[in-house]
């Protein structure tokens, strides 16, 4: 399973390196969302600064929808979904590979947006020992939830529109925990943040386990 996961992740990242969709579309989209928030809250700079953790994660969440859609769009054309089902790849490995590739892209995006909120929102980021794990686990959780539902909807003709409807409600706990942990890190009170990070870890682990166990069924029925 782990070998298959590495194979799939390497393949997806290689395609990304060739097509540069994350670089040319995902990153500009996420930065644009940050900019729009900045315009919307411009009159109240203190409000903007206080809302930074939530705005940061909303921007990442919206970008994650595009990243997941892109990850599953790779297998949509020209019989690739059937080819994947016939490939002999372990379904759990396939899921973990997809999650890893999306999570790597989201983590890179988080690094970019962290710079963005400092520059645009005048936010101060401290407690890196809490902030970095929060971003890593947050990216993993977003990727795991997205890929679980991406597997379910991947074969549907309306995948692009139905995916956000399924994913956004499921991500509410992640958004809450990641925002709270990020806020605790930004305000340099990490003690409170660790509890939220623990919730984030449990949420991400739950979806990684769920997706790994059920991806074969999702792939067949989706």
């Amino acid at each position: 399973m782990w070998r298959d996961a590495a194979l799939v992740a390497a393949k997806d990242l290689r395609i990304e390196a060739r097509t540069r969709v994350a670089l040319n579309q995902l990153a500009p989209f996420a930065v644009l969302v940050l900019l729009l928030f900045a315009f919307a809250f411009d009159a109240e700079r203190t409000v903007l600064r206080g809302a930074t953790p939530g705005l940061f994660w909303v921007a990442i969440l919206l970008a994650s929808l595009l990243a997941v859609q892109r990850a599953f769009a790779l297998e949509r054309p020209d019989g690739l979904r059937d080819a994947v089902r016939l490939s002999g790849l372990h379904p759990g490995g396939l899921f973990l590979g997809k999650v890893a590739a999306v999570a790597v892209q989201l983590f890179a995006l988080e690094a970019l947006l962290a710079v963005g909120v400092v520059a645009l929102y005048d936010a101060s980021l401290s407690a890196p020992l809490l902030l970095v794990p929060t971003c890593i686990v947050g990216a993993l959780g977003l990727a795991a939830v997205g890929c679980t539902y991406g597997g379910l909807t991947g074969g549907q003709r309306v995948a692009e529109t139905i995916l956000p409807l399924l994913v956004l409600p499921a991500l509410a706990p992640l958004l809450l925990a990641a925002t709270q942990a990020f806020e605790a890190a930004a305000e340099d009170r990490p003690g409170e943040g660790w509890r939220w990070l623990a919730l984030l870890v449990a949420f991400a682990a739950g979806y990684v386990g769920l997706g790994t166990a059920t991806f074969g069924i999702l792939l067949d029925d989706g």
């Binding site: 054309p77 059937d82 016939l86 002999g88």
Partner: protein
Amino acid sequence: MEPVVDLRGAVAVAGRFPALAGVDLTVERGEVVLLHGPNGAGKTTLLRGCAGLIPFVDGQARVLGCDLRVDRRSVRHRVGLLSHATGLYDDLTVLDNLRFWGRAVGAEGDDIDAAMARLGLDGRLRDVPVAGLSAGQRRRTSLAVLVSRRPELWLLDEPRAGLDAAGRDLVDGLIGDAARAGATILLSSHELDRAAVVADRSVEVVGGQVRPPPARAPEGAAAGASDVA
């Protein structure tokens, strides 16, 4: 020895309609069987069913010893399906595609190199993204993937489609070599004369069923119409 394909009264449903309406078909190891019949008769569905991609809902359906009504997944990595679609990543090169699909079933680098050489993809084409290939070159790449995976059961849906004369000869050679190596081949084709040369026998698919072969002629009469070897 158990047949490679053993379908008895097998029913498969596509949407709400039975795409296969009680198929009876037995294929022994090493046989090359040609499926023919009009468009929409169920040839492609039959091939996809044997690959474990479509559920059988009634009758008996065993392929490579796997009961497809109980478990469709176990058979999948042991079959190779060449369909109308290429099953290739457009943004990856020919070599990247072959490496990915080959390694998925544990194929060695030598197998991949040999398949590329056999299909004429070992020159400048190996580093060309699939999106930049012609239809025939894509077909060759799909065939190379199939060859490198060394499946026990080859399921070929119009394998010569889109190929030039040399490519068509190549397909015939691949089929012959695979059968000699012990693989079993089920192919559909509308080019009956050409396909009959490589097939041991042919069966007609009509209305989602395999039409029974005509009654055997009396001793001394011409050979049965279903024998094409």
